[in-house]
Amino acid sequence: MLLVKWLKKEAPVINFDYVKPTTEQNALTACKDPLAQFIAGGTNLVDLMKRGVTNPEKLVDITGLPMSNIEQKGDNIFIGSLALNSVVAEHELIKKHLPLLSQALQAGASPQIRNMATVGGNMMQRTRCGYFYDLSMPCNKRTPNSGCGAKEGYNRMHAIFGASDKCIAVHPSDMCVALAALDATVLIANGKLLRRVPFKDFHKLPGSNPEKDNNLLKGELITGVEVPINAAFAQHSLYTKIRDRASYAFALVSVAAALEMNGKTIKDIRLAMGGVAHKPWRLTTAEQFLKSKEATPANFKQAAMLALKDATSYGHNQFKLTLAPNTIVHTLHTLAGI
């Protein structure tokens, strides 16, 4: 294990240790310290450190671990947590079996960032809420009980589903929306057993403790995700991302959709949205509604209305109440070829 320790007295910036273990066990042990944190591509964590949002005392660089494999395991595709976003997006197995995931990844960030970003890091990336990044502003997620700057402030990018009084932030990932739609499972190591968590239960709603984005416990390591192969979905899936510029912008809203058709009838369907909640948002009511129905504009419209039933807005993001259903309808129209 490589250990670099900056002597406190000679510290160039903020003191932190940096270790780069090569085995899972060493990584888990190294990350037991209360203020230790894993670092993978660093595309999110380093920014957060520079802004002073996160101040780890020890960085455990996991990029030396053998966790970047992508392979078919029975009826599943396994993706190691260190697989790079760019590699996953371009991988033959992914393009063939999980094109929805490939599209979602391609829609995210920039080529340079995707070349550094890992699957685990993408899941763990934090919200882009501007108040969260600015230490001079209130933010319950960053500093519990300091207030939520966005609720009565600038909240154009914020949630319309499942927010709480404490926090209305959204999870910014594109990749996770596809994984939620595809019923992936997250594999987690904690030194004892291997935990398996359904993707839709991995991220959490803000509730009363928005400082926690997800249900991963301190010191636990994401080792990979498993995604079931579904030949029909692979034929018919689409990720639509609506943003303020054509590339390199976070989603105003996004829709991941996969369809299994039986003639004109929808046999099975998966629908999830991004940019609308503190977690990738599965549209289960809309899915239920559309199952066994014909793929018609009227049905799609009705499904979109159902999906928006519990939506609320906070001012600047009111447009999402229209943009979200429109994007659902647009995605389903395109997918069904109408």
Binding site: P12, V13, G130, M137, G153, D244, L252, L323, H330
Partner: protein, 740 residues
Amino acid sequence: MGNYFFDSATVFEELDRVDGKAKVTGQAKYSAEYEMPGLAYGVIVGANISKGTIAAIDINAAEKAPGVLGVVTHLNITKPAGYIAADATKPAAVRGLKVFDDNVIHFNGQPIALVMADSFERATHAASLIKAQYNKETFSTGLEQAMKDEKPLEGNQYKESIRGEKDAWKNAAVKVEGTYTMPNQVHNPMEMHATTVKWEGDDKVTVWEKTQGVKSTQRDIMQAFALTEKNVQVNTLYVGGGFGAALRTWPHAMAALIGAKKIGKPLKVVLTRMQMFTLVGYRPEAIQKIAIGADNDGKLIGMMHEANAVTSNYENFTENIVKMTRALYSCANVTTKYNVYPVELSTPTWMRGPGEATGSFPLECALDELSYQLKMDPIELRLKNYAETDPENGKPYSSKFLKEAYQLGADKFGWKDRHPIPNTMMENGWKVGVGMSTGIFGAFRNEAKLGLKLMADGTLIMQTAVSDSGPGTATAMTKIAADAMGLPYNKIKFELGDSSLPPGPTQGGSSSTSTVGAAVSTGCVTLQKKLAEAAKSSPVFGHIVAVENFLFQNGEMVLKTDPTKKLSYSEVLKNAGMTSIEFIENSGRNPAMEKYSAYSYAVHFVKVLVHPLTGVVKIAKAVVAGDAGKIVSPKTAKSQMIGGVVGGIGGALMEESVIDERYGRWINNNFADYHVPVHADVPAIEAVFVDKPDPILNPVGSKGMGEIALIGFAAAVANAVYHATGKRIRELPITPDKLI
């Protein structure tokens, strides 16, 4: 969709950018890239309140932090001479915010301390240890609020201007009226502002500074520190984009000068991207009302344009927002009013197309709206109101080829295929619309001195103290000299970016090519005379010395009457026993210009696709036709126009400053959240030029170009969006939420 601009089929045979290779290979050194022994690093700490005073500031921990060499605040500053007015009735030499002068906070992010250390990281860390306490006061940062709560500034420049009858538009047969808003826009050049300072003793300093004006920066420093010209050396060899943000000597540069003096070491201060939003200006937010009345034939009867904009609470910044409405079209009755409200933000500054870019948005949208009411083609309406002489003063134009530009652009774009009724065209599920607009900007020429040296080997060296913030000044000047002297490009060297060279102008207001180009042009004429004079001693030409008898081509003087008689420039020098010909050419305004008005024009044509369900707007095609006089360097001219249009796409579709008015703090002060166009937003852009010389402004025949490239573009997009959807968007940027 269309090709990207780099796929363009056009084969450029013109001169490449002379500094292009250095720039793309990392050889070009920018102001932050000068290393020297003992170099210290300065980090600026900003206030996090918007208005009030500093009650206490604790620098103890920072001073004790490892590597720290010193901290400057208002409490321990040694004030430069220019902070204090010698005569109480006059302002102090240093204008604007005098950094660390007192404990008053004017805006959020205002520098309250400069921390200097032996490494950037240590300075950054120590800066985070500075703690300030404040007495806070109420403030406002938004224009809408300020318009409700406050009175605008008073003074002559804000007085209502009335030509003809004030409310004439109201009685016209056909009328349009609207209120248009535009947020603060930030220049955001790629290169951060940077200042590297090296004092030699108390009264001599060298500065590597990002500036669009090496001489103006030199002057500011001389005045601030009461130094002589020869003791202030400013170097700006390369600028990584300016767009107006480098037209002033900003507080961070003063801070660097003060700090370096304090620690007695060379010091470098580089702004962070976040500081680029608060410390180097922005295009001020504007709310504008416009009203236009016309008769049934489309002849303008009257216009009213009221602009409201922000400035800082410590400096009155104004720009030509409403001038275009008075100057562009022939209309007897025009009333304009410009209201400026001070808010708790830093001082705005000129940004590409200053004033006109803001004012053209309502004007050119209103004209479009009028054209639909009249059921008249938007170009026809503009031609109907074409000004043959300057409507403001009746003067003739030194040149005006706007009609030709309408024609040229319309042909290139295929404007004749436009369906006259909005909301009728579809392509692959997207609504299609086309729109156009006109841009206008004054054409200027200022004074310049140019050093010329013809060397023994026939190389021509030209020198002037200008900086090139991106248009390719050295390239254009090389081109002019090459044409005039008949020299190959590689025999010409244009040196700039050094305040000890003969004084040149500040690069702003699209005037560099006209100003410096004029000096190059007349300088080459002078050089030809001097060569002819020197050729006296060469027997080849007999006794002929009058310059008119010679052609200057391929690096040789050729006798017109007998082209077999020729001599290379180096032979002329050799025969005359000279090692070089050196002189300084003075160039100034043409006095004849008193009688003329001079403007450059651009006509923008845009095709947009608007998604009916998601409101996404894509620019599918853009053509810009320019009347910028003679096109000196076609390749850099095209780049200049293309760059302006890319900036225009940003302003039209995405650029928006977001400030939380409760805190007076920026929400999107970074490149992830403040959007500028990426390649995927930029379609094939075609730039075409009338390319007819202006015979009076300057001997080159050029007019300005940098500003018009962007002026009016946002209106063309909004007009195209209207044509596509039937929705008139009066609020920039046109993001998807506004179209669903």
